[in-house]
Structure formats: C-alpha cells, structure tokens
Amino acid sequence: MTDVTHGAPVAAPRAFVSPATERRVVRIVLVLVAIAFLAIFLFLPLISVFYEAFRAGFSAFLRAVTERETASAIRLTLLVAAFSVPANLVFGVAAAWAIAKYEFKGKSLLITLIDLPFSISPVTSGLIYVLMFGAQGYIGPVLADHGIKIIFAVPGIVLATIFVTFPFIARELIPIMQAQGSQDEEAALSLGASGLKTFFRVALPNVKWALLYGVLLCNARAMGEFGAVSVVSGHIRGKTNTMPLQVEILYNEYNYGAAFAVASLLALLALFTLIVKSVLEWRYADEIAATRRH
C-alpha cells in the first residue's frame, strides 16, 4: 500500500500558460499584421475592381460586357477552358496514377517536368509555341501547307493554355494517391472487379475531392492566363482575344470602365472558385477528412 498524505490543498501555480502559446501582445501584433496585409493586397484591389466596374452604373456595365468584341472574348475564354480543362483532367489523372502507383526509371524527371510550367515564365512558353508552330517555325510551314493554322488562332491559344495549366490537377492528385497506396485497388481486384470497374468505382472516388480542387484551380487559371496566350494569340479583335487580353486592350484604349467591367468578371470567377471550394469543404468535411486519412 502506498502512503497517502492528506494535507491542506496546495495552491495552484499562477495562471498556467501553455509553453507553445505566444504572449498576448505578440498574438495581437501578428493578427494585425496579417489583416493589414490582406486589406492592402487583397481586399482593397478587389473592391476597387468592382467599384470601377460599376462606377458608370449597372447599364453601362451591362453594355460593356455585351459589346460585340467583349462578348466574343468571353465566348473564346469559355471555349479554351472547355478544351484545356478536360485535356488536363485526363493528363493529370494519368500522370498522377503513374507516379503514385508505379516505380519506373525517370520518375523524378517526370515529376520535375510536370512542375516546369510553374517555374517557367508564361511568355517564354508562348514563344516556344511560336517557334514550333509559327509561320517561320519548325513545323508551322508544313501545317500551313495543309491549311492548319495554330499560331494567331484558337488552337495555339488552347495549346498554350493546356501547357500553362498542366500541373494543377496532377499536383493535387499525386500526394493523396501516394498516401493512399494501392491496397484499395488490390482489394477491389481480389473481389473480382475488372480493371475498369476498379478504376471508376474505387480509385476515382478515393480522390474525387482532390480532383475537384484541381479542376477548379485549373479552370480558374485557364480562364485567367495572360502571358502565354498573349504571345500566341495575335490579338485579333473579335477573333483571338480572350478575356484577359480584352481587358488589356480596353485599358490601353483608356476605356477604363469597360476594362474594369471585364476584369470584374474575372474577379467574380476567382470568388466563385473560392466559394465553391469552401462550400464543398464545409459541406463534405467528414467525407473529405475520411478520404484524406490514410
């Protein structure tokens, strides 16, 4: 038996502070710095975009965004996204699958290459496409002989956009696929499922949230890309101008109201992307957590 001494209760030590917690003053300063930073670099510009867009009234805004060339830019932007996002969806899933599930020579090279569009200036990538497919380029003349025009036309814009947005989906998928390993697929196979059924009923649902994030980010970037598209587009009004290019043209023509009207649409797209992402995270928090768990 242990001896237990009953005595006067010992006074609790003075206000215990967790060793991992900063002091109050430090905390307040850090929070203020973060808020100030957000306000100056994020909220203020965002608000001013909408302020400028609607300064001349809602009907002026509507007139600006339905103007023929602007409407054509919006259509082209949607078209480019409609090609590049599915293309990168297929590529991203295939690349992430190969990297996460197989060991092969040149794997780290592939990972590096997937990141290349992140590290290279978009203008440079645009120029590379001009060099490849332009009238004086390597294969441009051959294609031109067959009546195929890539540079200063829609195909070039789509190609440049695919290149620039190509890491987004793969990058979202690789870590989660690596963390999950192949056991679920092995289980499905051992239960008699075919390769296709295993992919669509087990592997894909396991990464659906990461995939959705990737698609959202990829789409936002595809619609907003400026540099690479600017080089290959040729700025043909009503034909090869996407929304970001249209914003620049309007701005350079001192047509600020219209420029900000189109810019506000792009800003809306960004907000929409973030809101959808947050709503999904909130609505499916449990399921997302479950999928991310090992």
């Binding site: 056991q183 239960l191 008699g192 479950a290």
Partner: protein, 364 residues
C-alpha cells in the same frame, strides 16, 4: 467457379467443398534479392494455417503469391489440383483481408460487403434482393447488425476488421487469406477477435491462411503453424509439435521464451566453456552445438556439482515469478531464468541452476 459457402434464404451460412492448396518449390526474387527460397507446403481442404515469422521472413510475400497479387519467380501453386498461377487475381476466387483492411471509405458497410457481388458481370450477378439477403446474412455472421449504413471511418478497428472479413466472405472464396488480421488492434480486442475468427472458420470451413508475427496468436488459432525465417520454412506442425519439439534453434528461440547457449558436446554431455553442465546430449554428435532451455524450466541447485553458473546482472518482475538476467559461463553469455518471487538473493549475485528440460541442436 465452384461456390463454397453460400448464404441460404434464411441467411445462415451453408458450406460447400473447400479445396486443398499445394505450394511447390515457390521461389520469389525482388530485383535479385530472394524473398522466398523454394517453399513447399501441402494444406488440406478446410485447414486453418498460420504463417508465422519475423518481418522479412517472406510470409506476406507467400500470402500475396497465393492471392495472385504477386507472381512467383518459379514454382507452382495448385488450388484443388488446378493450377492457380495461370489465373488472374480476379479469377482466382480468393478472399483477401488486408492488414489495414483496405475498406472502401466512400462506401457504407453494406456497399463494402456487397462490392464483390455488384461488380460481377451482369450474367453472373445475383439479383438485388439476393445480394441484399446475402449481405445482411454476412452482417449477422460478423455480428455487426444495425451498422450497415455506417461508413468505415465511423467504426472501431475491431468492427472494420469484421467488415473486411465479411466482404471477403461475400464472394464465396475458395481460399481465405488474411494478412496480419489483428495487427492493428489493441490487446483485448485481438483476443476476442481471435476466438471469434476460430468460430467463424469452424462454421464456414474455408481453407484459410493467416500471416502473423505473434506466436501466441498462431499457436492458439491455427490447426497447423508454418514457422518461416529468411524466406524458408523452418518447421510445419501443430502448436504442440512446434512448442515441444522445435526443429531448429530458430524455432526454439522464436516460439516461447528461451535462452540459447553455445556449448560443446563431449562424451554425450554438454560442456559450457570447458565446464561440464551435467546435461546429457543423447544422440548429439561430438563438437560444437547449441543448448536451449526455457526460463521457467530451471531449478536452482547447490553450487557443488555440474551445473550452469551465472551472475545476476538484472532482475524484474515477470508475471507470478521473478526473471533474472544472467551472465553465464566464463565468456559471459546472456541467459534468462525465472525464480520464485520470495527466493533469497544469493551472495554476490552468483547462482547455479539446472534446466529440467533442455534441447541440444546441432550446428547449422
């Protein structure tokens, strides 16, 4: 495909014919590093076999080869006399329970268990009502009634294990394969599930292999235990065979607690560092050998005749007795013995003892 166990309309489990499994000279090499060196094993239909060994012994590799998740470099595997290696994993009709269960996290318990039935080609797929009846029967079998709409993350480890087993049983497998089935569970749940798995096996009668590194689990649960080490089978036998007649110092050392001492056999008796131990070595060839005994199989003796002598270097409580850690012989070999808790501590920590049961193993 021959169905073995099927659930009849009342939802109870009906039995079919379990198959024999023959493993012939299976070799597996990963990038030149051999993981299995020619393993052969015959398992009778309906047997419950434990593959027991330390990590790296090749037991999981062997299990995955049986499942078709890995292919051997050489050798044959027969299920009921039929070549199994020619069949893809989907067509092999095995039930595999993964160490971490690998439950489909976006599916409910019901959908997990039903998976193997719902993915069948339309012609072989049971009707919805049949699937439902069968799944509910399995849920009943694994005692998870009322949890069919839960998701795997909402279950405890033991419950997930049961779902994994029910999912594997749903496809009426010819052979059931379990990889460390209780490895991720805490001690009490392990014991309960162990007993429960034995009952399930007795009811369903599948030929079953399970991989474990836990000797207690293997000895308690299996009809036969296959002890593996470094890609080889060291011994195959019942729990009694393995425990009482270990075939090698490895098995003796791996199963149960043991002390192993390097001795020399001379004139039919063991000699430790030139000092006679008084332990006979009938039938052992003269020369170097290994003496093995169990810590609880020793008695303390007077320090005046042939015996093992050692100095106590540590002691600790061990269940109902006290375990002494000793340096034995002139060359300070380590050994452990158990003594009564109240036994007086000898002067200078010097102690003489004699195993009541011991084994002499020839050198490898």
């Amino acid at each position: 495909m021959n169905a073995l166990a099927s659930i009849d309309s009342e939802g109870s489990v009906a039995l079919g014919e379990p198959v024999d499994v023959t493993i012939e000279n299976v070799v597996k090499a990963f990038d030149d590093t051999p993981a299995l060196h020619g393993v052969s094993l015959d398992v009778k239909a309906g047997e419950l076999v434990a593959l027991l060994g330390p990590s790296g012994s090749g037991k999981t590799t062997l299990l995955r080869i049986l499942a078709g998740l890995d292919a051997p470099t050489a050798g044959r595997v027969l299920f009921g006399g039929e070549d199994a290696l020619g069949l893809a994993v989907q067509d092999r009709n095995i039930g595999f329970v993964f160490q971490h269960y690998a439950l489909f996290r976006h599916m409910t318990v019901f959908d997990n268990i039903a998976f193997g039935l719902t993915v069948r080609p339309r012609a072989q797929r049971p009707s919805k009502a049949d699937i439902r009846r069968r799944v509910l029967g399995l849920i009943d079998l694994v005692q998870l009634n009322g949890l069919d709409k839960r998701y795997p993350t909402q279950l405890s480890g033991g419950q997930r294990q049961r779902v994994a087993l029910a999912r594997a049983l749903a496809i009426e497998p010819r052979v059931l394969l379990l990889d460390e089935p209780f490895g991720a569970l805490d001690a009490q749940v392990r014991k309960d599930l162990r007993r429960w798995l034995r009952e399930i096996h007795d009811r369903t009668g599948h030929t079953t292999f399970f991989v474990t590194h836990d000797q207690e689990e293997a000895l308690e649960l299996a009809d036969r235990v296959v002890v593996m080490s470094k890609g080889r089978i060291e011994q195959v036998g019942s729990a009694d065979d393995i425990y009482d007649s270990p075939a090698s110092p490895f098995v003796f050392g791996f199963i149960g607690e043991s002390s192993l001492l390097p001795v020399t056999v001379a004139d039919g008796a063991a000699v430790l560092d030139g000092v006679p131990t008084g332990l006979s070595a009938p039938g052992a060839a003269a020369g170097p050998a290994t003496l093995g005994f169990r810590p609880h199989d020793v008695v303390l003796v007077e320090d005046d005749g042939p015996a093992l002598r050692g100095r106590i270097i540590a002691e600790r409580r061990h269940g109902a007795r006290r375990r002494l850690e000793l340096e034995v012989g002139r060359e300070h070999h380590r050994a452990e013995i158990d003594v009564e808790v109240g036994a007086p501590r000898p002067e200078g920590g010097r102690i003489a003892f004699r195993p009541e049961r011991w084994r002499i193993f020839p050198p490898r």
